[in-house]
């Protein structure tokens, strides 16, 4: 074999390797799908018609899964995507979370890229839509329709499942959309209006999670007036934290709220935000949380709020808590891959 034969052979092999590697990064199926459904803008008479539309992702099989959801909320921003942080948490606790919240303000564009990354990771994105600026009454009246329609269209286009919570903890008084400035009727009207726009656009790949706060801080605020109705809601989300001053067991923290809600709906519960304040009791409370969720067939799962904000909820450096979390997460009842 002459030298030039070897050179040519190696060149061909090198090109082959590079070619295969480069092409492996191209997901042809996704590319073809986006060609098929992507650039179909408004169909003007005479222009090439868009493709017959893909049916929306069917979320039915996710509504009542056999195993429990286990999620984690992480601090992310434009430079620091969710999935990387979620993966770090997953390594620490030995289980892959399958619910990942994305917090979006009511003037943000839909974070489709993040949602897609989360889905490809194997988790369900939970979009927490927060109307900081517009009033609920205005949203209900249609003043935000253009924005909502754009958002809904983007959700439809993504065509992957997402959970959507709008104006969570509406029974509290610490958010602009809270009870201190809005009537329950405003909230319900806004929720129904947004739901209708999503339905019109065909974005049925959304799991609607109505999410009040636990009633313990304000037991006299009744939840039924805030409930939009079974046709507008898939899941009942609950936000509730184990605090030093407040309730410290699953039953005392969540049961009263769940009992009240059972008075007007039979939908399943999901603890969309929960965590515990630091201290010697945190590991026990983590155990208590896991057991409470595991024992209650009405509860679909929970999302651990691992961000320091209103309290020091992050457990990344709390080894005792991590150990407890890890031990509890071994339970095979928790966690499954979202497909």
């Amino acid at each position: 074999m002459k030298t030039r034969h070897l050179v040519i052979a190696f060149t061909i092999m090198a090109i082959a390797v590079v070619e295969y590697a480069a092409l492996s990064r191209v997901n042809m199926s996704q590319l073809l799908r986006s060609v098929a459904t992507g650039e179909s803008g408004p169909v003007v008479g005479g222009s090439t018609p868009g493709p017959t539309p893909t049916p929306p992702y069917d979320v039915t099989h996710l509504l009542d899964p056999e195993k429990k959801f286990l999620g984690v909320a992480v601090d992310a921003d434009a430079d620091d995507p969710h999935v990387a942080k979620v993966e770090q948490f997953a390594k620490k606790v030995g289980k892959t979370p399958n619910l990942v919240p994305i917090y979006e303000s009511f003037d943000d564009a839909f974070a489709a890229a993040e949602a897609r990354q989360i889905y490809q990771y194997g988790a369900l994105p939970v979009v927490r839509w927060e109307p900081f600026k517009p009033k609920l009454a205005d949203i209900a009246a249609g003043k935000q329709d253009e924005y909502v329609t754009t958002f809904a269209t983007a959700v439809r286009k993504l065509n992957l499942p997402i959970v959507l919570t709008f104006a969570h903890e509406m029974n509290g008084n610490w958010y602009p959309w809270g009870r201190q400035r809005n009537k329950p009727a405003d909230f319900v009207a806004a929720w129904r209006h947004i739901h209708t726009i999503f339905a019109q656009v065909g974005a049925t790949n959304v799991i609607w999670a109505w999410t009040p706060n636990v009633i313990n801080p304000m037991p006299s605020v009744k939840l039924k007036p805030y409930y939009p109705g079974d046709e507008y809601v898939h899941w009942i989300g609950i936000d509730g934290y184990y605090t030093h001053k407040g309730k410290k067991t699953f039953d005392t923290l969540f049961e009263p709220t769940m009992r009240q809600i059972r008075g007007f709906t039979k939908k399943a519960f999901l603890l969309v935000e929960t965590a515990a304040e630091p201290g010697g009791t945190r590991p026990d409370q983590i155990e208590d949380l896991f057991e409470g969720v595991a024992d209650n067939p009405d509860v679909l799962g929970f999302i651990w709020f691992n961000i320091n904000g209103s309290g020091l909820w992050n457990i990344d450096r709390d080894n005792a808590s991590l150990r407890a979390f890890r031990a509890e997460a071994k339970n095979t009842a928790f966690g499954f891959r979202i497909e």
Binding site: H5, Q30, L32, R33, T37, T52, P55, D58
Partner: protein, 515 residues
């Protein structure tokens, strides 16, 4: 000796000069005789090509080829990405020739005829012209060749491309030059793009090159280079298509499958017995006369079959039609026997080959006649006679009629619906009462009916009359329908409209409301 080449082989000169090519250069114009098998294959292929009704796989070809490019992209994102090349070919052809069964099968008929011609040219180079012509004629007479000539799928094109690639290799080996190697490489890429399994023939090519050349021969490296660069052209398809899971888990490789393999490959026990038997003799005769070339032909005939069997656990490709491209090699070996046997009987006469050919070829043709008729039977054996039922619908249809399917046979492949889509493509169609999402919208070959998960519940049909195509196995044509649909159809009276092969047609007329 009858199998002697037409020119004397060149002696290897002594000294340091490289040996002259040993591949034979046949007489100049004898290549034109390839027209004979070409016309034979063309004639045999066109006979009855338009009569047999289309079936499952051919409906799929039509479905894919008649989609808009956007819808096709959608379909390919889900399935059948490997068939893109063939689908594009058919798409272009349909635009010119229309989509009748005959029109859709013509490319395959032409491809098989070309394969016969190329085989003749190969035989001419490898042995001599008579063997080539006999091989081509024998090839044209095999029932499996007729069957896949009359099939709107890529098997004929693959066979033609593999035969062409082998011919181009022989030409490149005879007189190496850039153009000839480039043509060879391009034919390899084309074959690989249409069907991966065809590239197994490279083993035969390797043997050919290896035995024809020694280590010093430049042609070895030219071959390796051509194959390497051709590989670069096939890698994209490999990379993209490997993501799509193979939808071929129904293929079996058990004892039954192996025992029936010869029949599946030739589509005739007679042809299988005759050709394989003669091929065994022919291999021996060829090995004695042409020790350099015989191994390559044997490898071409045998290795792909062994390969798909051995790799079955991984590749699931143990299916006779995937190795249809071995039939040219089998024909060539058998032709060597036919001509060689004549030579054994009439020693030394140069026309001795004619004895074998004149006796054995017509006998072969006569013996496989029943099998030739069988491969042209309509519908394809084991498939329901959808066309018969649909013709009945067309005859008795009224505006406002609906249509429903109880396609237990077709199941997930949604065959009955595909059949109606095709057979009534130019007609007014009855309204599909139970469809929720069309196959085109789903980017799939099958539609979604109401009442499945994720689709709305079935509602009472508006139509007064509904045609029901049933391929169920129960006594009642409605057996096998989901209960909610049966309930909805209980408001109708069923009148049988005819029984066809594996299909029952029922006309449901709405009961008059109680006054």
């Amino acid at each position: 000796m009858v199998l002697a080449p037409e020119r004397a082989e060149v002696d290897t000169p002594t000294g340091g000069t490289p040996p002259e090519p040993e591949v034979q250069r046949p007489g100049r114009y004898t290549g034109l005789l390839a027209v004979v098998p070409f016309l034979a294959a063309l004639g045999i292929g066109t006979t009855g090509a338009g009569d047999r009704q289309m079936w499952n796989n051919e409906y799929a070809t039509w479905h894919a080829a008649t989609l808009s490019f956007r819808d096709l992209a959608h379909l390919l994102s889900n399935t059948d990405l490997v068939h893109t090349s063939y689908i594009m070919l058919v798409k272009a052809w349909i635009a010119v020739a229309g989509d009748s069964p005959l029109a859709m099968r013509l490319p395959s008929v032409a491809a098989m005829a070309l394969a016969a011609a190329f085989l003749t040219l190969i035989g001419r180079r490898v042995v001599n012209t008579p063997v080539g012509v006999v091989a081509g004629l024998l090839f044209a007479g095999i029932p499996a060749i007729s069957r896949y000539a009359q099939e709107a799928r890529s098997y004929a094109v693959v066979t033609m491309l593999v035969t062409l690639a082998t011919l181009l290799l022989l030409r490149a080996m005879e007189r190496p030059g850039r153009l000839r190697w480039v043509l060879y490489g391009v034919s390899l890429v084309a074959a690989g793009m249409v069907h991966f399994a065809s590239l197994v023939v490279l083993a035969a090519h390797l043997v050919l090159v290896g035995r024809e050349t020694n280590g010093e021969d430049e042609r070895r490296y030219q071959w390796a280079g051509s194959v390497g660069i051709a590989g670069l052209g096939v890698i994209p398809l490999l990379s993209f298509a490997s993501r799509q899971s193979a939808s071929i888990s129904w293929i079996k490789a058990d004892l039954d499958a192996v025992r029936n393999f010869p029949r599946e490959l030739f589509l005739s026990w007679t042809a299988a017995g005759v050709v394989v038997g003669l091929a065994l003799i022919g291999a021996l005769l060829l090995w004695r006369a042409h020790p350099r070339i015989a191994p390559a032909v044997v490898v071409w005939a045998v290795l792909p079959i062994v390969f798909v069997y051995v790799t079955y656990p991984v590749l699931h490709m143990f299916l006779a039609r995937y190795v249809l491209f071995t039939l040219p090699a089998w024909s060539l070996l058998a032709a060597a026997a036919i001509c060689g046997l004549g030579g054994l009987v009439l020693r030394g006469r140069s026309w001795a080959w004619a004895l074998g050919a004149v006796l054995l070829l017509p006998a072969f043709g006569y013996l496989v006649l029943p099998d030739q008729r069988e491969v042209r039977a309509s519908p394809v054996s084991g498939q329901p006679d959808y066309r018969g039922a649909i013709d009945a619908i067309r005859a008795g249809m009224k505006p406002g009629d609906g249509i429903a399917y109880n396609d237990v046979f077709g199941q997930l492949s949604d065959l009955a619906r595909e059949a109606v889509d095709y057979e009534m493509r130019d007609d007014q169609r009855p309204r599909d009462v139970f469809v929720a999402v069309t196959s085109v919208a789903r980017g799939s070959y099958s539609a979604r009916e109401c009442g499945s998960p994720g689709t709305p519940v079935c509602t009472a049909p508006e139509a007064e009359r509904i045609w029901l195509i049933s391929t169920g196995y129960g006594k009642d044509p409605l057996d096998g329908l989901p209960p909610e649909r049966r309930k909805l159809l209980a408001a109708y009276k069923a009148t049988p409209q005819g029984s066809f092969e594996m299909v029952r047609l029922v006309l449901l007329t709405r009961n008059a409301p109680a006054t």
